[in-house]
């Protein structure tokens, strides 16, 4: 079974600084997808970024980028120029390429606080 591990329960960053959130996963599959979701206090789950395992290039979305290390099974999220609105819980998630018929497996999440 696939597992996703987020070992840091909490992190803090100064506004405008950069922070990296760690995630590792375990799978025997060679093709899969990885995601970061943000959960603000409203508790909505918001997609931040997606990475396809077959792509060597790391995904980026504005201030958010990932460091995908397939051999190490590591998938970290870097947030640049942190803003107060980035304060939230962040979940790393894994999915096999079963198309629409493939569930997400989540890590326990990390709570990010942003200091003004």
């Amino acid at each position: 079974a696939q597992t996703v591990t987020q070992s840091q329960p909490e992190m803090s960053v100064q506004e405008a600084e950069t922070v990296t959130l760690s995630c590792t996963y375990d799978t025997s599959e060679s093709d899969y997808y990885l995601f970061w979701y943000k959960q603000p206090p409203s508790r909505q789950m918001i997609l931040v970024i997606r990475q396809e395992a077959y792509k060597q290039q790391n995904a980026t979305e504005n201030r958010f980028s990932v460091n995908f290390q397939k051999a190490a099974k590591s998938f970290s999220l870097k947030i640049s120029d942190s803003q107060l609105g980035d304060a939230a819980m962040y979940f790393c998630a894994y999915r096999t390429p079963g198309g629409a018929n493939s569930k997400l497996t989540f890590g326990k999440g990390i709570t990010l606080s942003v200091r003004p």
Partner: protein, 113 residues
Amino acid sequence: EPEVTQTPSHQVTQMGQEVILRCVPISNHLYFYWYRQILGQKVEFLVSFYNNEISEKSEIFDDQFSVERPDGSNFTLKIRSTKLEDSAMYFCASPVGPSDTQYFGPGTRLTVL
């Protein structure tokens, strides 16, 4: 971002009562998912539903749970006899796009007293 809607936003019920949570996934989508998040814990898969049938379910999804598509667009998650430990956020999600990325509804917060 594609829109998935859920109602109600918050449901309070007494232990042993039945609850029905509703979801309207992205239009014309045949797949959708239900997930559960107990407060402060990770998001857990409950069940996936495709074309009016359960595609996959977790060990959490026991006989107390059921899913239906009552009218072709709405999907429901029913808990027949709620327990205190059913208190959680319940999310539905629809897969979209070439990567079938799942987009989540705003969730229903269920409180069982």
